[in-house]
């Protein structure tokens, strides 16, 4: 059985003036026990997919199943077996940390004690603040509490909609470590993120934009499908370098990546020496050109351009 199965899902939203197709004929499936990532910027359609799968909204077309349960016919069952962490913080701000957790346990007919083992790792970090109101927690702490509340009824599948957005890099790393540990408990995880560097932490990913998926595969396969030589270029003045490289007739794409530029060329026979020769002729100083392996972000940008 598939943990998640979407077939030709379409979702549109209509306001006074226009119609937006948020999910545009999307199909994919997630295996049981997988950490599956929906990777894409705002407006890609990630949240709509989550809301369809958690039976909160209806798709216009297509069908969807969660662990064999149809989102139309079996919504009660889906709600019982799913844990959902929406993108916007949606716990009760005026309840304390402990009260929130207790509330969610009770709603699902269980107790904190019964499933404590599942949240122990995470909840231990929150325990010093258990009497603090949820509204008064920092971003990273809110996110940990939301995860605990989504887990406390021992769901078979977790839907995490942008759990790390706006969260600093340290808390983001910790959050992903927690997810890896949950995977060991055989919980299927469907997670979305706009941070491309988090993609490699998933078993498989779907790269999405504007309601469409442009690729689904393991991060490794996506990277090896890049199909172009990629160069990292550095020089003393990056601003000058980027302008020069964009004016280089052989340049296909040139983008800033941290402290260097990533460059792909139109013709395969252009090599490093030609790049260096050109950059020297434009009087760039300390030019350094290296062949590098692409990352998911390179692939995403490459696919976007296609």
């Amino acid at each position: 059985m598939k943990a998640v199965e979407l077939v030709n899902i379409v979702k549109t939203y209509t306001s006074k003036n226009h119609t937006i197709t948020a999910v545009d004929d999307v199909s994919f499936s997630v295996e049981e026990g997988e950490v599956f990532g929906l990777i894409g910027p705002d407006g890609a359609g990630k949240t709509s997919i989550f809301r369809i799968l958690t039976t909160l909204i209806l798709a216009d077309k297509g069908s969807a199943k969660v662990l064999g349960n149809d989102v139309l016919k079996d919504l009660k069952e889906i709600r019982n077996i799913s844990g959902y962490m929406p993108g916007r913080f949606s716990l009760y701000q005026d309840l304390t940390v402990e009260e929130n957790l207790e509330f969610f346990a009770t709603v699902f007919g269980t107790t904190i004690q019964e499933n404590y083992r599942l949240v122990e790792d995470i909840y231990k970090q929150l325990e010093p603040f258990k009497n603090r109101r949820a509204g008064k927690l920092s971003g990273g702490m809110k996110q940990k509490l939301a995860l605990c509340c989504a887990l406390i009824h021992k769901p078979k599948i977790l839907f995490l909609d942008e759990p790390t957005t706006g969260v600093d890099p340290v808390s983001r790393k910790e959050f992903w470590e927690m997810l890896r540990r949950l995977k060991d408990q055989a919980i299927t995880i469907l997670v979305s993120t706009p941070y491309m560097d988090e993609a490699k932490l998933c078993d498989r990913i779907a790269l999405m934009q504007n309601g469409k998926i442009f690729e689904i595969d393991t991060p490794n396969n996506i990277v090896s499908g890049f199909g172009k030589k990629l160069y990292s270029v550095k020089a003393e003045n990056i601003f000058k370098l980027i302008n020069d490289l964009r004016a280089f007739p052989q340049t296909e794409n040139c983008f800033a990546f941290g402290d260097s530029l990533h460059l792909t060329l139109k013709e395969c026979d252009t090599d490093q020496r030609k790049i260096i020769k050109y950059l020297d002729s434009c009087k760039n100083k300390n030019v350094l050109v290296e062949r590098i392996e692409p990352g998911i972000e390179d692939c995403f940008m490459h696919l976007m351009k296609k």
Binding site: S15, N17, H18, G40, P41, D42, G43, F129, L137, S138, G139, G140, M141, T165, G166, V167, D168, P169, V170, S171, R172, K173, P194, Y195, M196, Q209, N210, I238, F239, I242, F255, A256, F257, G258, D259, E297, F300, M301, M304, K305
Partner: protein, 248 residues
Amino acid sequence: METKDTVIKTDKLTKKFNDFTAVNKISFEVEKGEIFGFLGANGAGKTTAMKMLIGISKPTSGRANVAGFDVYKQTEQIKKNIGYMSQKFSLYDDLTIKENIQLFGGIYGLKDDELKDQSNELTGKLNLKSHADKLVESLPLGWKQKLSFSIAVIHKPKIVFLDEPTGGVDPVTRRQFWDMIYEAAHNGITVFVTTHYMDEAEYCDRVSIMVDGVIEALDSPTQLKNKFNASSMDQVFLKLARGAQRFE
């Protein structure tokens, strides 16, 4: 010889909320035309510090001068001489592009003819001329953010404050956004920017990293990487912020 032109200068700037010290004696300077990255973990005190600098929160103690004005007494002048944009507040969705430009240009005191020129130049540059009469809500997020940045610098401020301007934006637009930042800095506008994307920290001339209310490190990305023996700003950040004690 060129003399340095300091546009932000703080001296032991502090903000306390009851017995909680959100910002603890931070001192730093930012030069004209610099791209200054202001980083820190959630709860480190960045937002509180930024609020004092843009004149909407009164410091508890210490001194700060922004664009030549004092953060205690001259907050109105500060507001006139800076631009501000964030991911959360950008533009009015239910106004058209042109109307947003007119509104913000008007608030910043641009005259009608200036406003007209700016409006034309801006929509031309962003390739939005044919969309000028469309509602902002119909624009994709990336466009909104680019437009929002252009409007934040429409009155040619000395400094523009950007609070996580690229959150949730696609990777190509994110880079186009940074092209705009470079251009603004090139034209002498100082850019004060916060971000959670560590690759963006590399694009800054200098970066400060706040931990538990104090500035734990401040230098160019290259120097910081050397100092912390790290290959990327991500590693520098992790090394510093892992030691953080407090949560907001």
